[in-house]
């Protein structure tokens, strides 16, 4: 009896959560198609004009291009410098390793707003603040550790014996990397790449602190337009928000096809204990 009540409570909560989420999402979607909407349950007339308006007025093609460029650059650099570091951290043992792990863990643990402000000060001081380069450099700070911590357990799953046998058969380091590690690490690289991609697109604080006129990512541009107060019709902002959601959702759905989030978090946790 008690067990059944328990299950019922869980389903009721889920129902509430889904209804609430549905309400929030539907409201924005309906509003983005509304001609005008005030105080009524539904808008009297619908239009798709706000999408064309948002696309033109907010220069969305440019913003989307910048967002994609920044995200891909961050993914590439994070993987390029995170991959070798994760390999060494998974395979070798040395005295400074706990300190190093802590150092990599800190940017993930400390909120971005806290180190974002001194980081922005520094980068503006070097003249890269407000540029695309500045945004990439700043967003990479938490993404490099993220890539390292995602790749780490994947390396640990690959038996060291494979590397030893390859070495015994006369393979060079480069051959071991290209023929053994790279193919076996493909799922890990994919996982890390997709999660870094999703996180970069949705990163707000760091991109916001470093973005200038031409280097705004989609989230940041969206945020600024909310405050362009009075000038921007709320429907056009909602249209832009819908475009944002569709972009991230498609990336996230691709990610979920390859990655089981629960499994991965657990592996990360198991590692730390």
């Amino acid at each position: 009896m008690r067990g059944r009540m328990w299950k019922l409570a869980i389903y009721l909560f889920l129902l509430g959560f889904i209804l609430n989420l549905l309400g929030i999402v539907t409201h924005v979607v309906v509003s983005s198609f509304a001609k005008r909407w005030f105080g009524k349950p539904l808008p009297p007339a619908f239009t798709t004009d706000w999408f064309t308006y948002a696309w033109r007025e907010f220069e969305l093609s440019h913003v989307l291009f910048i967002t994609l460029f920044i995200a891909l650059a961050v993914v590439f650099i994070a993987l390029a410098i995170g991959f070798p570091a994760a390999y060494v951290l998974a395979r070798r043992n040395f005295n400074a390793k706990p300190i190093l792990l802590l150092l990599y863990f800190l940017p993930l643990l400390i909120p971005q707003m806290t180190y974002g402000i001194p980081l922005a000060t520094t980068l503006y001081g070097f003249g890269v603040g407000g540029t695309v380069l500045g945004v990439i450099l700043a967003v990479l700070v938490p993404m490099v550790p993220l890539a390292v911590f995602i790749l780490l357990p994947f390396f640990e799953q690959i038996s060291l014996n494979l590397e030893w046998s390859a070495q015994m058969l006369g393979a060079s380091r480069l051959q071991i990397f290209r023929r053994i590690l790279l193919p076996l690490m493909l799922p890990g690289i994919l996982t890390a790449g997709l999660l870094v991609l999703v996180n970069t697109i949705s990163n707000f604080e760091l991109a916001f602190l470093l973005a200038g006129g031409g280097s705004q990512t989609l989230v940041v541009a969206l945020y600024y337009n909310v405050f362009a107060g009075g000038v921007r019709p709320v429907y056009s902002i909602d249209a832009m928000a819908v475009i944002y959601m569709c972009t991230v959702l498609s990336v996230l759905l691709v990610a979920l096809r390859f990655v089981r989030p629960t499994q991965m978090v657990f592996r990360l946790d198991g590692k730390r204990n």
Binding site: R2, G3, A9, I10, F13, L14, F17, I18, N20, L21, G23, I24, V25, H27, V28, S31, I81, P84, A85, V88, L89, R92, N93, F94, N95, L103, Y104, P107, L109, P111, M113, T114, Y115, I117, A120, T121, T122, L137, L140, V148, E156, L160, S202, F204, E205, L209, V219, Y223, V226, A241, V242, M245, V248, L249, L252, P261, M264, V265, F266, D269
Partner: protein, 294 residues
């Protein structure tokens, strides 16, 4: 594995060092250096003749500024407790699987893809003065005047809940479903009821993961910025410490003062984390005692 085989001998050779250097340099240059630089410039106030700590003194002498600490704690703490409790309840209930598990997990993760602006717009629309919820409640005759759920701390708490809940839930679900089911079965065989199983067997095992989740959610909630501006009342009841820091940096262009506020914010988070770690230690002692008694 390499780690087991080797004694504490260092295994760093040239190649390994070369592998580590790029990322290490990056973290040092872009994280550690700005951090230290931030502390340094916070001690170099804009007014040259003022003392080294004048920014900090100014902060703690100005109620408008130091009250942001209280505001932030009052937002972050209840949100964190709610997120962790609900996530624990749900993850514990789902530990042995549930109907449509994959679909439900996907739905619970969805808010991540909405982004903070979408979420804020939706909350403003749905829960706002003229929103669907109020219209529905009025139409049903449950209330006469619309509830004020947005542009105050309720709205921000709500927005934070939606943002942080998915992460916390995923962490706890992974953690709890990793616990060996035979422990629970043996407890049941020995005659323990569901509540005893939770309290004596499962909770001590979940506690470490719970503490980590609590710390992460708290730290994320403490830094709340965009939702406090959009759903809240950034000049009044939800003026959090990150808004204060942002205003100093990009509205007053006083990077020194802004860095001082960022340092204070970091210290507050650190203090909270220390408390959490201390609580954890107490809890661990309690559980080992419990095991020892049996």
């Amino acid at each position: 594995m390499a780690r087991i085989r080797s004694d504490s001998r260092s295994e760093l050779d040239l190649v390994a060092i070369l592998c580590l250097v790029p990322s290490l340099l990056y973290v040092l240059a872009m994280f550690v250096y700005p951090f230290l630089y931030g502390i340094y410039i916070s001690l170099q106030p804009k007014k040259r003749d003022a003392g080294m700590f004048s920014n900090y003194v100014a902060f703690f002498n100005d109620a408008y500024q130091y009250n942001t600490i209280k505001t932030t704690f009052m937002l972050a703490l209840p949100t964190t407790i709610a997120v962790v409790l609900v996530a624990l309840f749900l993850a514990y209930g789902m530990r042995r699987g549930i109907w449509f598990e994959r679909t439900i997990t996907t739905i619970l993760v969805l808010p991540i893809s909405l982004g903070v602006v979408f979420l804020s717009e939706g909350i403003l629309g749905f829960y706002g003065h003229n929103g669907w919820l109020n219209q529905l409640l009025i139409a049903a005759g449950l209330i006469e005047n619309p509830l004020e759920l947005t542009h105050n701390s309720i709205g921000v708490t709500f927005s934070l809940f939606m943002q942080n809940f998915p992460f916390c839930f995923l962490m706890l679900l992974g953690y709890i479903s990793g616990i060996d089911p035979s422990l629970e079965s043996s407890a049941r065989m020995l005659g323990a009821g569901p509540w005893t199983i939770f309290r004596r067997v499962m909770f001590p095992l979940i506690a470490p993961g719970l503490i980590i989740a609590f710390a992460l959610v708290f730290v994320m909630s403490f830094a709340v910025f965009p939702s406090a501006v959009m759903v809240g009342q950034p000049a009044g009841s939800t003026r959090t410490i990150s808004i204060a820091a942002y205003q100093q940096a990009f509205e007053q262009y006083d990077m020194s003062y802004a860095s001082a506020i960022a340092v204070i914010m970091g210290l507050c988070q650190l203090a909270a984390l220390v408390v959490i770690v201390l609580v954890r230690r107490r809890m661990t002692i309690a559980t080992t005692m419990g095991v020892g008694k049996r």
